[in-house]
């Protein structure tokens, strides 16, 4: 089994993507990722000299932009309706500089 990422790499990726992984979950995730990355090998074996990547999925089409004019949007109440915690019309979060996240 080719090893593209080590458990240490996967731990770092988990931290970066803010996905908590327990020590028990780490070996399985490492194996899964290595298997998937191994299956991507064909992409590294093509002769792609001089091939330009696309900037839009469909040929020469480009995005259709609207005029830059003000419109109506959510009220504050609507924007906060799905928030897990709210205080004084704002999203409420725990301390950013709290312990353990240096």
């Amino acid at each position: 089994m080719a090893s593209h990422v080590t458990e240490r790499d996967v731990r770092r990726i988990a931290e970066y993507t803010r996905i908590g992984l327990t020590d028990d979950e780490l070996p399985q995730m490492t194996e899964d990722l290595n298997n998937i990355i191994e299956s991507l090998k064909p992409i590294t074996e093509y002769d792609l000299e001089g091939v330009e990547p696309p900037f839009h999925p469909i040929g020469d089409l480009s995005n259709v932009m609207r005029d830059d004019v003000e419109g109506t949007s959510f009220t504050q109440e609507e924007a906060l309706a799905n928030a897990p915690a709210v205080q004084d019309g704002s999203f409420l979060i725990p301390s950013i500089l709290g312990g353990g996240d240096a």
Partner: protein, 544 residues
């Protein structure tokens, strides 16, 4: 108590019957609710049923009928429609099949949903799916699996499994799904219904929770090609809220009856000999090619030399875009928040760990890895270059043909738990993925039952950019050969209170009502089923 068999009504027949006052929109909504109540216990396609919204929409349709101004009736007037649960409908929960959004309540309505409502459709509810559309079996949903109506021990396919199963079991005539790598076409194939992934840019994605933004497209499921075309008519066109959506003035029903004479149908020999393609699927697709040739189509062999690279390009590009799109779930503005954390960092990690299931976590982490410094040049950039090659392949191929015919899925529906390895699961989209990479339209068209499994098999039709009418035209020709896609046999027994035909249909609508298999094609259908080793007699298929 209503005097019509709701489950057999196509959208087209519903519009006709409403105009002829054979039934009211309210009766249709009630019949659909009753049908869902009696069937979905077994199928589990619905995550949420919305009777209030359905009845309110029905009332508006009935008011239009009562006013006598039938011209104001939309093309989908009175048609019960349900939506994949990644589509926002104001006031409903939109969960994406994830714990992360278990309690999320839509603050607005997606454009695709709104267009169905504007056309007169009745919103019946939201449908089960693989979590955030990551999967090919609907097994990764956090809210239980959806069963394949043809065999309740098998998966409906995915990720739009609920959308396919709801149509295949006759709960609603039209549903919407989304397709990033095959998520409309593969479940349509597993459940034996019509499923269309339009050309990228044809349908707005505003309000549809994003997975892979350069790949995602919304499209309809139906039992008839005409119903799918009617839904497409309502869905397409530019939306100022999605800058990738393009203007479109096509009537997709216009050429359905034209036949395929003189059309050039492309066939890819490598697809027909691909490893993993089950013989019964290959057989069925070859049978469809023969039928099209007999109908006067010109069969052209074409080459897609880089198609084999599509799978790995997709599993680079898809996760990278998913990683980016799913970074918005931060446990602050909406979505699951793990309680009791003293600092934001541990709240993020605990919330995203508990909120996302294993496949979502894998794809997010994979995308992050593939976009990291050094790795980007090894995988992501080449994947985009390969995308150019694949796109050019299709462009060249469509210089020689008007439509390509291929398998949809290499196999028929598999059993729950049968495929547990993620990379093997990914292979079930081997024939559909390159079409998302290139942005072309593709659809799955039922071809009867497999000779070995007795389960639905399908052909995939692929069209040039913004020529989706080409594939619908070919699909309509196939439909005339194979008969309309039937409701799965276990669900053809009518709901007791809807079973009576005591009230006769109006003269005009009688001809329009499409039963599982139209009588005029019964002979050829029986032959087809016999060819495929399906039930020898039609009675097994048609509803007793």
């Amino acid at each position: 108590m209503v005097g019509f068999d709701f489950k057999d009504l196509s959208a087209e027949a519903i519009r006709f019957g409403l105009a002829a006052k054979d039934f009211s929109a309210r009766e249709l909504a009630e019949a659909a609710l009753e049908r869902v109540a009696s069937v979905d216990e077994q199928v589990n396609a619905f995550l949420q049923v919305t009777p209030d919204a359905a009845l309110a929409a029905a009332e508006a349709v009935d008011a239009a009928v009562a006013s006598g101004n039938l011209d104001t009736l939309g093309p989908l007037a009175g048609v019960p429609v349900a939506f994949k649960d990644n589509m926002n409908l104001l006031g409903t929960r939109t969960t994406c099949g994830s714990r992360m959004l278990e309690t999320y309540k839509s603050a607005y309505t997606a454009t695709c949903v709104q267009r169905i409502l504007d056309a007169g459709g009745l919103p019946m509810g939201k449908l089960n799916m693989d979590e955030f559309a990551f999967g090919s079996s609907t097994e990764t949903s956090a809210f239980g699996t959806t069963k394949n109506p043809w065999d309740l021990e098998r998966v409906p396919g995915g990720s739009s499994g609920g959308s396919a199963a709801a149509v295949a079991s006759g709960m609603v005539p039209i549903t919407l799904g989304s397709d990033t790598g095959g998520s409309i076409r593969q479940p349509a194939s597993f459940c034996g219904v019509v499923g269309v992934k339009p050309t990228y840019g044809l349908v707005s994605r505003y309000g549809v929770v994003a997975f892979g933004s350069s790949l995602d497209q919304v499209g309809p499921f139906a039992r008839t090609v005409r119903d799918a075309a009617l839904a497409l008519n309502a869905l397409v066109g530019h939306d100022p809220l999605d800058c990738t959506s393009q203007p479109c003035a096509t009537d997709f029903t216009a050429n359905l009856d034209e036949g395929v004479e003189g059309m050039r149908i492309g066939v890819v020999p490598e697809f027909m000999t691909a490893q993993g393609l089950e013989p019964e699927v290959g057989e069925a697709v070859l049978g469809a090619i023969e039928k099209l040739a007999a109908l006067g189509a010109e069969i052209v062999e074409i080459e897609l030399p880089n198609a084999a690279a599509a799978m790995s390009a997709y599993y680079v590009i898809g996760p990278c875009e998913a990683f980016s799109n799913l970074s918005r779930f931060d446990s602050v503005r909406y979505g699951y928040r793990d309680p009791g954390h003293a600092d934001l960092g541990s709240q993020y990690e605990a919330s995203r760990s508990a909120g996302f299931g294993p496949e979502a976590r894998r794809r997010i982490m994979l995308g992050s890895y593939l976009l990291s410094a050094g790795v980007y040049d090894t995988y992501y950039y080449p994947a985009q270059q390969v995308r150019t090659l694949i796109t050019d392949d299709y462009r060249m191929a469509f210089g020689e043909c008007d439509c390509i015919l291929a398998p949809t899925s290499p196999r028929t529906a598999f059993k729950f738990g049968e495929i547990s390895d993620p990379t093997t699961m990914h292979l079930s989209d081997i024939f559909t993925i390159s079409i998302n990479i290139a942005g072309n339209g593709g659809m799955s068209m039922p071809l009867g039952l497999g000779s070995d499994s007795g389960l639905p098999v399908s052909a995939q039709l692929i069209c040039p950019w913004f020529k989706d009418e080409n594939m619908l035209r070919v699909a309509a020709a196939l439909e005339r050969e194979y008969g309309t896609a039937p409701i799965a046999p276990a669900f053809t027994d009518a709901v007791a209170s809807c079973d009576t035909q005591s009230v006769s249909f109006g003269e005009a609508s009688r001809n329009e009502v499409r039963h599982s298999f139209p009588d005029e094609s019964a002979a050829s259908t029986a032959e087809t089923l016999a060819d495929f080793g399906g039930p020898a007699s039609l009675s097994g298929m048609e509803g007793e």
